[in-house]
């Protein structure tokens, strides 16, 4: 999980700046245009084809009724919504619900625990503060996913005490995901919390607010953008998480989308390829949308202007 969020999280630090205006450049024509600009369009078209073709292929396969791998090669030859209807008779509905449930609870838990920790590190000066921050930084270097064998064995023995958080339980999976809640996220949030002026806390304190009131009613509202970003990152990374979900959830009705769709596509010969494609299109939509949403959030800053100079 940690690794996945780093993969996405870095976008935060390098937002794309708006394109510079074109007017400063004199227009060029003919051979010189080809040499300096034209070839860039050729590269672009080739790359766009490479990027889009596999996605068009899935889309086409998803509309191909009763499609197997063989029958899916002529793009958009048959168009029917049959596969999309057939999805619901299978486990797909449960997988979708399970994924949404697991990822939403994980995201909310991650945001709350990360924000609380970031608040403590940002606002209180206590003994061992620097040490704990360093410790968190070191711990997050080791991806939790590497210990999946031990996670499985731990859940196996927890099954005897609390079956609700043991093997084959979504709550157990959520708890595992929450184990990685502090790591990267605390740092992402900590930096943002530090940008909220402390004068706001002081003012609230003079008005008689408790630390809890300051946290819940003032700070959390001011850092809303980073909460959204962390929440979405956490959602996306647990949505695509496969290995831990696969070993923890053992029965088809408990699976998440990642595990379920894998089971459909794994065996090339008998795979219900059309169903898989339809499921993949539906499964990808929320993530692609969230991705767009996330990019918009990245640049905004809500705290600007909350203190008058």
């Amino acid at each position: 999980m940690a690794a996945t969020s780093t993969r996405t999280g870095t976008v935060l630090r390098t937002p794309i700046k708006p394109t510079r205006s074109l007017e400063h450049h004199a227009p060029v024509h003919g051979v010189r245009w080809w040499r300096e600009i034209g070839w860039r369009h050729v590269v672009a078209v080739v790359m766009v084809v490479v990027c889009v073709l596999p996605l068009l292929y899935v889309l086409s396969a998803s509309f191909n009724p009763g499609g197997t791998l063989t029958g899916s090669n002529q793009l958009f030859r048959h168009v029917s919504a049959q596969n999309y209807q057939d999805l619901w008779g299978r486990y797909f509905g449960s997988w979708l619900l399970n994924s949404l449930l697991v990822c939403t609870v994980t995201a909310v838990g991650t945001v709350l625990m990360g924000a609380a920790a970031a608040y403590a590190f940002s606002r209180f000066r206590f003994r061992g503060r620097r040490g704990s921050l360093t410790f968190l930084l070191l711990v997050q270097m080791f991806p939790q996913m590497l210990a999946f064998v031990a996670i499985f064995l731990l859940l196996l023995s927890l099954s005897k005490v609390f079956p609700a958080i043991g093997v084959n339980s979504q709550l157990g999976l959520i708890a595992v995901y929450l184990g990685g809640a502090l790591g990267v996220n605390t740092f992402l949030m900590y930096g943002f919390f530090n940008t909220v002026p402390r004068e706001l806390d002081e003012a609230a304190k003079i008005d008689g607010a408790t630390h809890a009131q300051i946290f819940w009613t003032i700070i959390l509202r001011l850092v809303a953008p980073i909460l959204a970003v962390v929440g979405l990152l956490s959602f996306v990374s647990s949505y695509g998480e496969f290995i831990i979900a696969k070993i923890v959830l053992q029965r088809p009705e408990k699976w998440t989308l990642a595990v379920g769709l894998y089971s459909w596509a794994a065996d090339e010969k008998t795979a219900p390829w059309g169903l898989f494609a339809a499921g993949a299109v539906l499964a990808a939509i929320p993530v692609v949308l969230l991705f767009q949403f996330l990019q918009k959030y990245i640049v905004s800053g809500l705290t600007a202007g909350s203190v008058k100079g």
Binding site: R40, A147, A175
Partner: protein, 539 residues
């Protein structure tokens, strides 16, 4: 806490105000003492957490999970103390996250290390006393020529038991309760027909619980050597006795028919002088043998070395190719004269926005040798074994990862390029430097300052890119003759999966040992990157 008289003292924080506006006593700044709405919410949450912990402690003690019980007790004390004490304010905010971190990250890391030094796995997954009991049960045989006991299947609150007539007296027992005589039972023709406190099962119930009944063994007496009563047909019971006996004093198993003595060896099994081992065995510490096995076991060492090398090659080439293509595209579209850059960019990012596990599965279909889109359509019916030939499969893995990964590098490089001041590039151009020279001596070094840490984390990410390998090739094509199911495209992390879950025999110890190796490699890489970024200075 104590009130120190009534004189006014200046508290660190202003006294909390309740919603009604009533101020609590001067000097009383404990959050626990303000009867606000928040307090009741806290009370309720802590009460639930404590109740769950207490329930957990009781169950854990009942099933003798001492570690879980001890942890829950510590958590119970910590939660209650932290949230009702005036001190340790930061702890109130850190505790929930820390508890999860402690169990699901720190503990499992430690546990991985522990398991790596044991023979935990199929055939060795419990304690020695469990193994002894298991061996005795598994080697039970019907005692030759023993009597047939007409038997009645009975049930008490879901527990199945047998009722038989032994020496003219009705006796009842269950799995946990050896046969004991009961008073007041009705016996008809040598068969028990009613037992007080037990319900006699009818034919339909017996048919429904067949497995349970066939597997039930009721100890004949409290002495395990007397054997147990079992049935095949729910009509007649026979006396079964283990062919082995366990001598606790000598710590050995003896086969009563052949006289062979099995003694425990250092690897957690009872072994006879001729080398036959009884199953199951039990968990023992085996030192470094899991680590050395990867290098010394001749069937494993060759494939393991290949996987080790391939993991580095895969991660390294993945970073290199994605970065090269991403940078090339970033430079290509960095020219403001290119129209439609925005559209190009948003289309080029699509592979990155599409969930990676789905892309890998789609490519798996597209690269299929016989029916895949690539062979059938793009190559006009060619029969290229993209995923089934060892070398080609590696190339395919790298190509698909390039498709998946270049948009990220493209984004990163675009951002980094735009943060390079244009005037110094401009002045180099004035001085007559060629575009290539400018790129090599100015753009690239400046770019590297911000991009290098990302390349390191990308390497670490790909080093453990389990989903891609597992979804695309499943590690295949497989090596032949290896004791575990591993193949040409397996990387270390997917090898861990294959050793622990993928092959018929689960070897948690060996899998954990490979995990530890990955831990070390990833740790070294991260530490190196960490030193370069100097994140610590910002704390």
């Amino acid at each position: 806490m104590s009130h120190q008289g009534t004189q006014v003292e200046i508290p660190d924080e202003a006294p909390p105000r309740t919603p009604s506006g009533r101020r609590t006593g001067v000097g009383d700044t404990s959050h626990a003492r303000s009867w606000s709405r928040g307090f009741f919410v806290k009370l309720a949450v802590v009460a639930i957490a404590d109740a769950v912990s207490v329930y957990g402690i009781l169950t854990a003690v009942a099933v003798q999970s001492w570690g879980v019980a001890a942890f829950l007790l510590a958590a119970l004390v910590a939660i209650t103390w932290v949230y009702f004490s005036r001190r340790g304010l930061p702890a109130k905010y850190l505790l929930p996250g820390l508890l999860f971190l402690l169990v699901y990250q720190l503990f499992v890391m430690g546990y991985t290390a522990y398991v790596a030094f044991t023979n935990y796995g199929d055939g060795h997954n419990s304690t020695k006393s469990d193994a002894v009991a298991q061996i005795l049960v598994q080697n039970e045989k019907r005692v030759e020529g023993s009597a047939t006991y007409p038997l009645t299947v009975v049930d008490k609150a879901g527990t199945v038991g047998f009722a038989v007539v032994v020496d003219g007296k009705a006796e009842v027992g269950s799995a946990s309760q050896p046969l004991t005589a009961v008073d007041g039972a009705t016996v008809d023709g040598g068969k028990v027909t009613a037992v007080p406190g037990w319900q006699v099962l009818d034919f339909a119930s017996i048919a429904g619980r067949q497995d349970e009944i066939v597997n039930l063994r009721v100890p004949f007496s409290s002495n395990p050597d007397d054997g147990s009563l079992r049935t095949q047909d729910a009509q007649n019971g026979y006396l079964y006795r283990s062919a082995l006996t366990y001598d606790a004093a000598a710590d050995s198993m003896t086969d009563t028919s052949t006289g062979t003595v099995y003694r425990p060896d250092s690897r957690g099994s009872f072994v006879s002088p001729d080398g036959t081992a009884l199953t199951p065995g039990w968990r023992v510490a085996v030192g470094f043998s899991n680590f050395t096995q990867m290098f010394t076991d001749s069937r494993l060492s060759g494939p393991f070395t290949q996987i080790l090398v391939w993991t580095f090659v895969f991660a390294g080439l993945s970073v290199l190719t994605t970065f090269a293509l991403g940078l090339f595209l970033a430079i290509t579209f960095n020219d403001p004269r290119v129209r439609g850059r925005r559209v190009y960019r948003s289309l080029l990012i699509l592979p990155y926005a599409f969930p990676a596990f789905l892309s890998a599965l789609v490519w798996r279909g597209m690269l299929n040798q016989r029916f895949g889109y690539v062979n059938e359509v793009l190559l006009g019916g060619a029969n290229v074994p993209w995923l089934t030939d060892g070398t080609l499969a590696k190339v395919s893995v790298l190509m698909v990862n390039l498709w998946l990964g270049f948009p990220y590098m493209f984004l990163v490089c675009t951002g980094a390029l735009q943060s390079i001041p244009t005037d110094i590039i401009e002045s180099a151009r004035m001085d007559g430097a060629s575009p290539f020279r400018i790129f090599r001596s100015m753009t690239l070094p400046l770019l590297m300052i911000s991009v290098a840490p990302l390349l390191i984390s990308s390497f670490a990410f790909n080093f453990n890119n389990f989903s891609l390998i597992y979804m695309l090739t499943g590690g295949g094509p497989s090596f032949t003759g290896t004791p575990v199911l591993i193949g040409h495209t397996d990387i270390l992390i997917s090898m861990v999966y294959a050793v622990a879950f993928g092959s018929g025999l689960k070897q948690y110890g060996l899998a954990s040992a490979v995990s530890i190796l990955i831990f070390i490699v990833v740790g070294l890489i991260s530490w190196w990157g960490f030193r370069r970024t100097r994140t610590l200075e910002e704390l």
